[in-house]
């Protein structure tokens, strides 16, 4: 195990001493992000990569909270970000989403308000769920809608729990008639609304951290977009080094040392992974320091970076297993970097690409990684990252397995 780590660390050291590689790994994505930021006006705070996201709302609740959520979507603050429209039924919204006319549908079920603020004899410990019907072809926009609704729900849930705690702590509440408890609860809710600056639940968090979550910084898309694109360069560079070591004689020399083959290959793979993590980590850190991007959930961010690099490392290994020489792997790596960059949304938001391309993009770590980074930038946490992280891990594991079979067939560990 120690030798495996030593080989990986040696590769990391070598990579960070290669000026040309560093230029590609760090400088190029940073400068491209900077350039794109200026071109799109992101540094002025004006431009945005995401605007007028079509969303269909169905308010079957028609009570205080349902109306409040609808008001959030029609609020002045979100007027440029979303383009809400109404529909009569849930079925109608499904159709609109399936026909790609909307990024998502928000269905507020009947009884939603009542489940939060119960009337006499209707108390339920579990509120009725708001349904979000997402368009898989527009993951980023759907993520924005989800983030808006999540914020609304979290504020409502916060109010519900604190309200219940307040009511249950009233002396003699157990003996109070249910009508009186309802009146008390309703009164508390109305007071809470009156105390706030605005009439909508989403507005309550206007000054809080949560309010920022629905404001999408386009740099939070561009920076990881570039980082993920150039990550493909890094993993192919790392993969190439396996064949380069074979050609330059250091791999045969390792093979005649008392080091097992799995330690050597494992060390090489670990080196690729480490280099990728270092690269994306530095670029994401730079996006925070220099561009002021907020990534929110740090734990989720770390997991996402590890998963994205794992998925990309799988591709790097596959390219190495296919390539016959270091030069061939380099050429393949550069091509794949560009193709995945375009397909995976690093240059153009996937939502501007045809549905077929969006479907194909799922084979790239770029698309899943960007999905995850967008979710994080929109205030999402680990639960919302589960899908992209799982997809990246499955991608990496599958590609590792295929590469292992190919390596065995090509006998890469023999001269």
């Amino acid at each position: 195990m120690l030798k495996l780590i030593l080989i990986g660390l040696k590769d990391l050291k070598i990579m960070f001493r290669d000026r040309a590689a560093l230029t590609f790994m760090l400088l190029a994505p940073f400068l491209l992000t900077l350039g794109l930021g200026f071109v799109t006006g992101s540094f002025g705070g004006g431009g945005s990569g995401l605007s007028d996201i079509p969303v269909v709302l169905v308010n079957l609740d028609k009570a205080e909270l349902g109306n409040a959520l609808v008001d959030v979507f029609y609020s002045e603050e979100l007027s440029t970000l979303v383009e809400p429209s109404g529909a009569a039924s849930a079925e109608a919204t499904y159709r609109l989403v399936e026909e790609d006319q909307a990024a998502a549908a928000v269905i507020i079920p009947a009884g939603f308000t009542q489940s939060i603020i119960p009337t006499a004899g209707t108390f339920s410990p579990d509120p009725v769920q708001i349904e979000i019907y997402s368009n898989p072809a527009r993951p980023t926009s759907a993520g924005v809608i989800k983030a808006i609704v999540d914020e609304f729900i979290s504020r409502v849930e916060e109010g519900r729990i604190s309200g219940m705690t307040a009511i249950l702590s009233i002396p003699g509440i157990q003996n109070m008639p249910s009508e009186q408890v309802e009146a008390l609860a309703r009164g508390m809710f109305e007071n809470a609304e009156a105390d706030s600056d605005s009439t909508t639940a989403i507005a309550l968090k206007k000054a809080s951290q949560g309010a920022d979550a629905v404001q999408f910084d386009p740099l939070a898309y561009m920076a990881p977009g570039m980082a993920l694109m150039f990550l493909m360069y890094t993993v192919s560079y790392g993969g190439r080094s396996i064949l380069a070591e074979k050609a330059q004689g250091t791999l045969p020399r390792l093979l005649v040392s008392p080091t097992l083959s799995y330690q050597i290959l494992g060390g090489k793979v670990f080196g690729i992974f480490l280099s990728g993590v270092a690269q994306v980590g530095i670029l994401i850190l730079a996006s925070s320091v220099f561009f002021g991007v907020r990534w929110g959930d740090s734990f989720g961010l770390v997991l996402l970076i590890l998963a994205a690099v794992f998925g990309a490392t799988g591709w790097g290994l596959l390219l190495t297993a296919i390539g016959r020489s270091a030069g061939q792997v380099s050429a393949l790596g550069s091509s794949v970097m560009l193709i995945f960059g375009i397909l995976g949304g690093s240059f153009i938001s996937l939502e501007q690409l045809p549905p077929f391309v969006r479907m194909v993009s799922k084979i790239t770590p770029n698309a899943w990684g960007l999905d995850g980074f967008t979710t994080l930038a929109l205030g999402g946490g680990l639960p919302q990252l589960a899908e992209p992280i799982t997809a990246l891990l499955v991608m990496g594991a599958s590609l590792f397995a295929v590469s292992a079979i190919l390596f065995r067939r090509t006998n890469v560990m023999k001269r």
Binding site: G249, P252, V256, R415
Partner: protein, 314 residues
């Protein structure tokens, strides 16, 4: 004391091509044994098999009692390998290279640090330890390449043509290093196609050609196989035909063998001075101009020529 290396009928085949054809030999502890042969003779393949990089197709070898087939990991612990091509990380410093390779040989801590210092001293690169290998001359790189093979104090050191492509001064330094290592007790298996290196360094020499061990012994034993013969090397003009001259010399009295190479004809004879006039006369008759003549005492080159009918550098 049993031999440190025992090779039994080693065969290596690549499809229809047989690179090593059942060779057998032993190396005693403390010996420098040279495998001498032209390029493509099978020297590197043999070393690669013995260092466990390749599996033999047939046969086996034991090193310090460990079979290369059955216990390659134990073999790897007792051998050191200096490959023909530089096998170093050029973006690491000399010290970093030695440190990395030392760890691959399970050295660590103080013992690693001490060995690195000793090896750097031995290869004369203490002052340049912190410089990247990329900045070194070819000879210095060769020395680091050797140093890596010495780190773990191997019982048997394989050196595969370590002087190829370097300047005479560096070559001299490497040969001196090999002799010094041997003086300190290290056993060395040295491959070369330079007859002079084999003659200078080796206690015994194995002559290998086309994958076969065609002769083995001390230099004296080998030259005795040729008998008390001398070799005349005739250097002829570029436009002259050496094959034609060799053919005309073959029948001359006192000429045992005549062999043509590039612009040269080698003539093996019991007494060079006795045939010299006849040889020059035969060349003149054919209109071939002899530019110079060398007379060589029996040596490994002559042995190789005698055994194969070809010069070693062919």
């Amino acid at each position: 004391m049993p031999p440190i290396l025992q090779v039994h009928s080693l065969v290596k085949k690549y499809g229809d091509f047989t690179a090593v054809k059942g060779i057998s030999f032993d190396i005693q502890q403390g010996e420098i044994f040279s495998l001498l042969g032209p390029n493509g003779a099978g020297k590197t393949t043999t070393i690669s098999i013995l260092s466990t990089l390749y599996d033999p197709t047939e046969g086996d070898a034991t090193i310090a009692g460990h079979s290369i087939r059955k216990d390659p990991m134990a073999v790897r612990r007792v051998i050191g390998v200096v490959p023909q091509d530089l096998a170093l990380y050029e973006d690491l410093t000399a010290r970093e290279n030695l440190e990395f390779w030392g760890r691959m040989y399970d050295l660590s801590g103080k013992s690693l640090a001490n060995r690195i210092a000793e090896v750097l001293e031995q290869i004369g690169l203490t002052e340049r330890a912190k410089d990247r290998v990329r900045t070194f001359s070819g000879g210095m790189k060769r020395r680091v390449n050797i140093g890596v093979g010495l780190l773990h104090k191997p019982q048997l050191l394989f050196m595969d043509e370590p002087t190829v492509g370097i300047d005479p001064q560096s070559r001299r330094a490497i040969l001196d290093t090999v002799k010094e290592l041997n003086r300190q007790g290290m056993t060395v298996l040295y491959t070369t196609h330079y007859m002079e290196e084999a003659a200078e360094l080796s206690h015994r020499v194995g002559i290998i050609d086309h994958g076969e061990m065609i002769a083995i012994g001390t230099q004296k034993e080998l030259t005795q196989q040729v008998g008390q013969t001398e070799t005349l090397i005739l250097h002829i003009g570029e436009n002259d035909d050496p094959a034609a001259l060799a053919q005309s010399l073959t029948g001359l009295e006192g000429v045992l063998q005549a062999q043509a190479t590039d612009h040269e004809v080698s003539v093996i004879t019991p007494e060079a001075e006795d045939v010299l006039a006849a040889v020059v006369g035969a060349a003149n008759e054919r209109g071939i101009k002899i530019r110079s003549i060398d007379i060589r005492e029996p040596n490994l080159e002559a042995v190789f020529l005698h055994l194969t009918g070809r010069a070693l550098r062919d």
